[in-house]
Symmetry: C2
């Protein structure tokens, strides 16, 4: 799911997103609540009408941003008080408020308000926190009224297998139409992340969609798919693009490197996106990236979103044909080839 | 002619430029000479191959940028020495060099190296300068070899009618396939600008294209067309766009104004560009502009380029139908309506 933080995926139109094969597009409740505000978005047709994207959308609850963007915040059983990252103004998110805000935003999928403790929080903290997250989830569900919007629960519990299972049990007993695994990909190692996901994934209801929050690097996507995950989001493909880094089947390339200045070929000869379809050479894109031209951000973003979507389509085909393990191994090995060794392991990027 | 300073029109692809009805696209020799350099561009197929724009292109000689961007420069009969705006490195432009550089860039139209004195330069300075510009034009013509590229001469002479005529005579006697009027729209009043153009336009060879350098505001375009000009360029439409200002048939609008926050209609209901064609409301574009989102720059740039192109197409139709004066009067009066009075007169923007 490409991330359209403030109601647009950086530089891309809905038509671009369709051509890139985007499935669900994600919007950030924290940002959209602060600017331009849920009242305005509801008035002009919800996020779909506002942004012109008529495909599926998901909004997060804003809880993660309260933790990652705000230094000053005050947590209580009632909710979380925080200062706006834009102007320092005070705000108070409760499960009821973020649910109503997401109903105004009107995405197809909304998320419960959860607490996302830091990776290094203590066991005691996680224990207390997952209880609060479960009680908040219940309040979200009781508040939620839109029948054309699915509200997903979120499993927390840090890196503690028994706490993950307890959070899972308490979330699943609320009976949501879909479940997310949150609080991972926040600084722990890739091995720890996969281990924690491995604890909960087998116990999630098999017939409901599963969403792993916050992974977007190609190898990581394949790893979580292997643990039976259906959905994932991350700003990584779009953020990398704005820094001049393109994803290719042979690993990441940074277009600022001098070696690309005279290369005539496309970003990735195996890619069929608009940026790779014959018009633009690596030489040109490398020049645009160096000059910080808007067209560079647009074209490399389009490519990275298309590339990630295409990877998911290939993964789905491999699953359907019963050859996922082989596909994942071969694909990851080529991507993390000799020149790229070490980039796709270690802490989640 | 939309301006693609560094080899791209801000945020737009060649397909966008085609859809916006762009005729000629302009590239800046000063910037492209410094980065990525003419050798590289020649190697990868010239500006056409490099940028993917297969329509007509024009490059200026770089002379104007030497004057407008560089504080340190040293002018002599041989050429002009200057420091790069990027890194302060020393460079020396001669008529021979800028002609060869433009042959490497490979646009369809190249320009002679001229001197563009400030609007307040003395008569004596203009007299000396126009002589040098004429001698440089001769050296450019003698250097120029590409038969698939037209080299245009440039008429200077400031605001002095007799100097304008002398510059015209000395340029036309060199027999170029097209002529530009330069050194205007550089700080003088709109009335002075039109008066100076009015002196030379009737004496330019009737069968050859005429290019007025540096005008891009809609009313100004109609005014120079009325004085029989065929071509004009300016960064105004694209620069305004990046500051959130859109051109409409009812005048300029600044999308940052609070009044647009809840407006459901398109930028201009009479425009058929991608930004106006039904997907994007003023409310959404206003939000994107406020948030400085890449998509705002892209869509408003596309709109302004399309809008300016459409204005030129309507002007051409009016000329063909023998009703240009009426068209210009009616169009300009609506554009500079009560709310916009004063924006299209005074110093050229």
């Amino acid at each position: 799911m490409p991330v359209g933080t403030k109601g647009s995926v950086k530089g891309l139109t809905p038509a671009d997103l369709r051509s890139a094969g985007a499935g669900v597009v994600l919007g950030n409740t924290y940002h959209l609540y602060l600017r331009p505000g849920p009242d305005l978005i509801r008035e002009v047709g919800g996020l779909h009408g506002f942004s012109g994207w008529d495909g599926p959308m998901l909004t997060d609850s804003g809880g993660y941003q309260v933790y990652s963007l705000t230094h000053r915040r005050k947590l209580s059983e009632e909710g979380v008080e925080f200062s706006s990252v834009y102007d320092g103004s005070p705000h108070f998110f409760t499960p009821e408020l973020t649910t109503r805000v997401q109903e105004d935003l009107g995405a197809d999928i909304a998320m419960v308000l959860d607490e996302c403790p830091p990776a290094n929080a203590s066991r005691e903290y996680h224990e207390e926190s997952l209880g609060r997250t479960a009680r908040w989830a219940k309040r979200c569900k009781e508040t939620h009224t839109r029948e054309d919007q699915a509200l997903f629960g979120i499993v927390q519990g840090g890196l503690y297998p028994d706490l993950r299972k307890e959070s899972l049990r308490r979330t699943v007993e609320l009976d949501f139409p879909g479940y997310a695994v949150g609080g991972l990909s926040v600084g722990e190692s890739r091995e720890e992340m996969l281990a924690a996901l491995g604890v909960v994934a087998p116990e999630l209801p098999a017939e409901k969609p599963r969403y792993f929050m916050g992974i977007g690097d190609p190898v990581g996507i394949l790893q979580v798919i292997a643990l039976v995950v259906d959905m994932f989001d991350c700003v990584l493909p779009t953020r990398l693009a704005r820094h001049g880094t393109a994803l290719t089947n042979d690993g990441r390339i940074n277009l600022k490197n001098a070696g690309f200045r005279r290369q005539l070929g496309p970003l990735d000869p195996e890619c069929s996106c608009e940026a790779c379809a014959g018009v633009y050479s690596r030489a040109y894109l490398s020049h645009l990236v160096r000059e910080n031209e808007l067209l560079a951000h647009r074209l490399v973003t389009l490519h990275n979103v298309h590339f990630t979507g295409e990877l998911c389509r290939r993964a789905r085909a491999a699953i359907e044909e019963g050859r996922y393990k082989e596909f994942m191994k071969a694909w990851s090995s080529r991507y993390a080839g000799p020149a790229n060794r070490g980039r796709s392991s270690g802490p989640a990027p």
